[in-house]
């Protein structure tokens, strides 16, 4: 790996953290409506994962999608504009926090109904297979999604038809406020893949390098074997499920412990310094530059125009009446 690749991973993780902190403020100021699910704590998962894909590989995820959007290459200002519901947002203000996408960057959303995008992921892999493409569809979802029927239907189909899907379960230990142990018959989610004879592994999602290495192997396994693979990535969200979360289901000590011991940015920061990949000064400068980048992005989003009232019906159909 070249130095600039290491640096880019750090840059993306910092950007996600800063965007989410900005989003918190904008939400508290009433500028972001609806639900807001933050990715703070989980940055290493999508950063490591998506940095491993080839351009032809599709990415589709659930509603905790801001980080994934940034990793897929949607500019921070466009992400923030969507959060503010502006015409310059990636979904032109029609989708909001939970529905970001940029098809040109092979990022297929941003899906807010738990588990509903898994069958869609299987179908994209089917479409690529039908057309003789060697793309891999990377489908991310939370631990909670593995308890809904769509998950089981989609995994089964992917195995029966040998579709090139990398199933990625971000296990952050809680589906909203219900812990995995209280909701799932198996606490190692990867065991569910065993039931469908889908090869699988379980890795630490707080270490971006571990995620990247595992993801690279998994993606190439899917591509060369033309079969699905299931990757369970253990992680933790440092913030509530969404902004309106009283967090009665976990102690502040538990959260603090993860923040102190397992912060993915702290872990990677230390890794870069320990391995003398980059100097502490360079990292400081990078952080500062990232802060400026996000500040400028907020300004762009705030000063962007609202969608036009006359465009209310835009894109309802391809073929309008």
């Amino acid at each position: 790996m070249e130095k600039n690749e290491y640096v880019e991973l750090f840059h993306q993780m910092i950007l996600i953290r800063l965007v989410e902190e900005q989003a918190t403020q904008l939400y508290q100021q009433g500028k972001i409506g609806g639900f807001l699910h933050l990715y703070i704590g989980q940055e290493a998962v999508s950063t490591g994962l998506i940095s491993s894909r080839q351009p032809q590989d599709r990415v589709i995820t659930a509603y905790r999608d801001h980080g994934v959007a940034i990793n897929c290459g949607i500019p921070v200002k466009v992400v923030l504009a969507e959060l503010l519901g502006k015409a310059t947002g990636c979904s032109e203000g029609r989708g909001g926090s939970m529905h970001m996408a940029d098809v040109g960057k092979n990022f297929w959303g941003g899906h807010a109904i738990v588990g509903a995008h898994l069958p869609i992921a299987a179908g994209m892999a089917l479409g690529d297979r039908y057309q003789g493409k060697d793309s891999v569809t990377i489908c991310m979802f939370g631990d909670g999604a593995t308890n809904i029927g769509y998950f089981h239907e989609a995994l089964n189909l992917s195995k029966v038809w040998n579709l090139s899907v990398l199933w990625v379960c971000e296990n952050n230990l809680y589906g909203m406020g219900t812990s995995v142990e209280r909701a799932s018959a198996v606490s190692e989610i990867r065991q569910k893949a065993e039931g469908y004879l889908i090869p699988n592994s379980r890795i630490d999602g707080m270490d971006v390098m571990e995620v990247r290495n595992a993801a690279q192997k998994a993606i190439e396994t899917v591509r060369s074997n033309r079969t699905p693979y299931f990757l369970e990535i253990e992680t933790y969200r440092f913030r509530g499920h969404s902004m309106g979360d009283p967090e009665r289901y976990r102690t502040s000590d538990e959260v603090k412990c993860w923040q102190d011991e397992e912060d993915p940015i702290g872990i990677y920061h230390k890794y870069l310094l320990d391995n003398k990949i980059i100097s502490s000064e360079e990292l400081d400068e990078l952080e500062k530059a990232s802060e400026q980048e996000v500040q400028a992005a907020v300004q762009f989003a705030e000063s962007s125009p609202e969608p036009l009232a006359e465009d209310l019906y835009k894109n309802l159909y391809v073929e309008m009446e």
Binding site: A116, L126, G127, D128, N156, L157, N315, V318, E319
Partner: protein
């Protein structure tokens, strides 16, 4: 023109579109080796092969979800749900995914998707297998809902649906598969979202579609013997709803009966009559009548089932009511 069955017309449309465009493929339960549970895709598997005529597990949500995904990659899937009663298992993917993605992602996602399914009662399949919930799906903007009543329309509309870039629910009627009608040979595309006068008349307007078009036609034949000339407007598409021919006819007859197989409450009759009152109030000479299914889960017993379903006599009676 050759007279063919509804089944043959639909089968021809699928066959011709698959021959024309390799992006078109079929997926669903028993569509392949079995030949389709209503034999619509009989012979397709042997001709087009397993890659283009895909038998799926019994996983309705994933049949539609995967068809959506395949459509997003540029294919033109025709996903089959064995009956519309199973569409409830795929409800999320029909109304909350297919109907939403193009709009919600600002036009980035294009879904050239057709969902073929079969509805209607009258075959003693009891409550869970006999429904006509067409309006449930027509309620959702972003989806188009087509329900033909003649073989000619079935063929022409299905071909248009397959060529459309929008997600379309194509509802067939199980008890119409054997009905015959003239279908022109060769290409005859019928535009989606256009109602049609199926029988001209001057005394009363009947608005109907799908199976109830047949029932209304029979009622019109009876009424003609009594000198009552009924004009029948076939909606053909429930969303988008084309009211032009309905209003034009109503302004001529000033009387209307709306006939649907589904339940009366919140139904096609409610929608169409409301629009007539909104847009042609000055032309109303009699309260608009609605003929629909009695509001019970459809019973198995043949007599009770027929009692609950709209019959020719019900239509005749309603027409006389508005005269």
């Amino acid at each position: 023109m050759p007279r063919i069955t509804m089944r043959e017309a639909i089968s021809q449309a699928l066959w011709e579109e698959m021959e024309r465009d390799t992006r078109v493929f079929i997926m669903g339960e028993e569509v392949g080796v079995w030949g389709g549970s209503y034999a619509v895709t009989k012979g397709f598997y042997d001709h087009f092969g397993a890659e283009r005529v895909k038998d799926t597990p019994i996983s309705e949500a994933t049949i539609i979800g995967a068809a959506i995904g395949a459509a997003l990659t540029g294919l033109r899937p025709v996903a089959e749900l064995m009956t519309i009663n199973f569409a409830f298992s795929a409800f999320e993917h029909i109304v909350n995914q297919a109907a939403k993605l193009h709009y919600m992602f600002a036009g980035q996602m294009v879904l050239p998707l057709v969902i073929r399914t079969v509805g209607g009662g009258g075959r003693q399949l009891a409550a869970t297998h006999s429904q006509t919930p067409d309006v449930v799906f027509a309620h959702f903007p972003g989806l188009k809902v087509v329900a033909p009543g003649t073989p000619e329309d079935a063929k022409g509309l299905l071909k248009s649906a397959i060529r459309s870039d929008d997600p379309i629910l194509f509802i067939e009627s199980a008890t119409l598969y054997q009905s015959r009608g003239e279908v022109a040979e060769g290409e005859n595309l019928i535009p989606i979202g256009k109602s049609k006068i199926q029988r001209p008349g001057k005394d009363v307007t009947i608005v109907s579609y799908s199976k109830m078009l047949e029932t209304s036609m029979k009622a019109a034949d009876q009424l003609a013997q009594e000198g009552i000339e009924v004009e029948i407007v076939d909606l053909r598409t429930l969303r988008p709803l084309d009211m032009e021919p309905v209003l034009e006819s109503f302004k001529k007859t000033n009387r209307a009966v709306i006939v649907e197989e589904g339940w009366r409450s919140y139904g096609v009759g409610a929608e169409v009559s409301a629009r007539i009152y909104e847009e042609a109030f000055d032309y109303v000479d009699a309260p608009i009548q609605r003929v629909a299914q009695k509001e019970v889960p459809l019973p198995y017993n043949r007599n009770l089932e027929q009692l609950a379903l709209p019959q020719v006599e019900d239509v005749v009676k309603a027409v006389k009511e508005v005269l």
